[in-house]
Symmetry: C2
Subunit: 326 residues, 2 copies
C-alpha cells in the first residue's frame, strides 16, 4: 500500500461563521479570541442569533488535512460525525479535498458537532463549540493498517475534551510508534492546555516527536510568563518544536538547530481562524517531503498567511502554487 | 588598580537634535532612518537650517558608556575631540556620567565632530555626521594600562570610517586579548557595514567575542535576505550574538544557547535614537556582572525602551532603578 503523508485524528466539526461586532459578543456572553465549549441548547440559541452565517466543514485537524491536500500531500482524517445534514456536509467536504475520510457515521446519539465562530472586525475569532457526535470517537474508529501507513500521526489537543477519544489516541500512538512513524501534536488552545496541562506535559516528554503551539499555549503549558521561558522549557525534551507567534513569526527548533522565522507579509488580516491549522499543514507537508526545518516553517507561514487573508479556516487557492513560488 | 567593566572606543560626537517633518528631509536631501557622512560645509548649512535644535553629547559608544554608568557600571571612553566649544561640552558631559574620559583634546586640525539628527514624527531618526576631530583618533590615544583593566573592550563599527582609528583599534584588541579580556563590537549601521563588510566579517570570525547588530546590519553583514539566514550565518562563529529587532525584540545566542526575547513594552516611541546604544549598555552591564545571557538581553531591552520613550540618545532616569524592578 502507498504510504500516507499524514494521518490526523480530531474533532469532526462543521463551522458556522458570521461577521459580528463586539457588542454582540458582550450581549451573548461570548469570550473573545478563544474557544469555549457549549451544550446543545446554547448551540441552538447562538445559531439562531447569528446573522448572515456561512457553513463550512471545519475542525482543527481536519482543516490541517485540507491544507496538506492543498499542498499536494496525502492523508487520512479520523473523526466522528452523525448521519445527519451537517454530518453529510462534513463528509462531502472532506471527500472534495482528496483526504481519506472513512470514519463510520453514528446513527444514534448526539448530533454532528458544530462550531459557531464570531469574527469581529479586528480579525479575532471567538469560537463556541458544541462537540456532539465528535466526542463519541472511540478506539473502534482507529484503523490500524491505515494509521501505520502514515509517516506522521497528527493529534489535536482538543480531543482531550472528549473522554472516549483518549483511548483511541493511545491506541493510535502505539500503532505509529510500532511502525516507526512520528507523532505530532498541537496544543490547540490555551484554555484546553489549562484543562489538561499535566497530561500534555507528559505527552511532550514521552510520546510527541513534533509539538505545535502558539505563544499563549506554550506559555500555558509550562506555566511561564515570557515566550523565551517556554522555548527554553520546551527545548529540554528532544523532538521538533514549531512555535507560532502571530505577526511575530515563528520559532522552529530541534536539538541545537533553531530558526527564528518571520511571518509572511500580507496586505490585511481578515480572519485569523485556521492560522495555526494551516501553519501545521505547511510544516507537516514540508517535513513529510524531506524539507529542511526552516523551509517547513516558511511553508507553514505561507499557508497561514493565505488563510488569514480571507474568511474561513481552509485555503481558497492551491497552496502547492504558493509553495512553488517560494 | 580596580578593573573597569567596559572600555569603549568610538567617535566623540556632539549631537544636534531637532524634531523635523518629512518635507524638510526631502528639501535638504537627507536620507531617512540612516547615518550619512557629511563634510564641514554641509554640517554648517544643515545646522543653520535646523529649527529648535538641542545639543547633547553623543556618539554611539559614548552613549553606551553613559548607559553602563547609569546602570551603576564603571568604564572608560576613548575618542578624540578638539579643544573648542563643542569639545568642552563633550568632555563635561562625559565627566558627569562618571565614565573615565581622558583622551587628549586636539589643539589643531578639524573641529569637534557633530551629528545633526532629524527626528520625524514617526520616531525615526536621520543622522548627518561630520566626523571632524573624531576621525583623527590614533594609536597614541590607546592607554595600554587602562584598556587592559576593562573586562570588555567595546568598539563601534563607525570607527572604520576614520582611517587612523583602525591602527588604534588593532592595538586595543591586542591589549585586551593579552589581558584575557573580551572584545565586543557593534556593526553600527547597515551602510557602514556595506562600506566595510569584508573587514567586519573577518573581525567576527577572528577577534570578536560579542557581536551587537540590528536586523538590517546583520543581513547586510552576511548578504542575506531574511533575519534567520543572518542568525544561522552568525552562529557559525563561536562567540556571543546580540541581535536586535526593534519592536520584535532580540535574539541572544552563544553556542547552543539561544534566547528569543520580547521588546520591553512602552506607551509611545518618541525617538529611536540610541536604542541600539542603550541595548548594548544593558547587555554589557549584565555580562560584566555575571548575569545569564537572557537577563543581559532583558537589561538591554529595558534600557532601549527607556531611551526611545523620549528625545535624545542617553537615559533620563537611573537605569539601575529600572533594573532593580525587574
Amino acid at each position: 500500500m502507498k504510504p500516507f503523508d499524514v494521518a490526523a485524528i480530531g474533532n469532526a466539526i462543521v463551522d458556522v461563521i458570521a461577521p459580528i461586532d463586539d457588542a454582540f459578543l458582550l450581549k451573548h456572553n461570548i469570550a473573545k479570541g478563544v474557544m469555549t465549549l457549549i451544550d446543545e441548547f446554547r448551540a441552538l440559541t447562538l445559531h439562531e442569533a447569528f446573522p448572515q452565517s456561512r457553513e463550512i466543514a471545519g475542525g482543527s485537524a481536519a482543516n490541517t488535512m485540507a491544507g496538506v491536500a492543498s499542498f499536494g500531500g496525502t492523508g487520512l482524517f479520523v473523526g466522528r460525525v452523525k448521519d445527519d445534514r451537517l454530518g453529510e456536509s462534513f463528509a462531502v467536504s472532506m471527500a472534495k479535498t482528496g483526504i481519506d475520510y472513512s470514519t463510520k457515521m453514528a446513527t444514534s446519539g448526539a448530533a454532528t458537532a458544530c462550531c459557531l465562530i464570531a469574527v469581529t472586525p479586528d480579525g479575532q475569532r471567538s469560537m463556541n463549540t458544541y462537540l456532539g457526535a465528535s466526542r463519541e470517537l472511540d478506539s473502534s474508529d482507529i484503523d490500524e493498517e491505515k494509521i501505520a501507513r502514515a509517516k506522521v500521526l497528527y493529534i489535536e489537543g482538543y480531543l482531550w475534551d472528549a473522554p472516549d477519544a483518549k483511548a483511541a489516541i493511545t491506541k493510535a500512538i502505539a500503532i505509529a510508534k510500532r511502525a516507526g512513524n512520528k507523532v505530532a501534536f498541537t496544543l490547540s488552545d490555551p484554555f484546553c492546555v489549562g484543562r489538561w496541562r499535566e497530561e500534555f506535559v507528559n505527552l511532550w516528554k514521552n510520546d510527541i516527536d513534533i509539538l505545535f503551539a502558539n505563544e499563549e499555549e506554550a506559555k500555558a503549558l509550562f506555566e511561564v510568563e515570557h515566550f523565551d521561558e517556554a522555548l527554553q522549557a520546551a527545548r529540554q525534551s528532544p523532538g521538533i518544536l514549531a512555535l507560532t507567534r502571530s505577526e511575530k513569526g515563528c520559532v522552529v527548533a530541534s536539538g541545537n538547530e533553531l530558526h527564528v522565522l518571520d511571518a509572511e507579509p500580507i496586505a490585511k488580516v481578515v480572519d485569523t481562524t485556521g492560522a495555526g491549522d494551516q501553519f501545521a499543514a505547511g510544516f507537516l507537508y514540508g517535513l513529510t517531503h524531506g524539507k529542511r526545518l526552516d523551509h517547513c516553517g516558511r511553508l507553514g507561514a505561507i499557508a497561514a498567511a493565505e488563510v488569514i487573508s480571507h474568511y474561513g479556516a481552509r485555503p481558497e487557492v492551491a497552496l502547492a502554487d504558493l509553495a512553488a513560488k517560494f
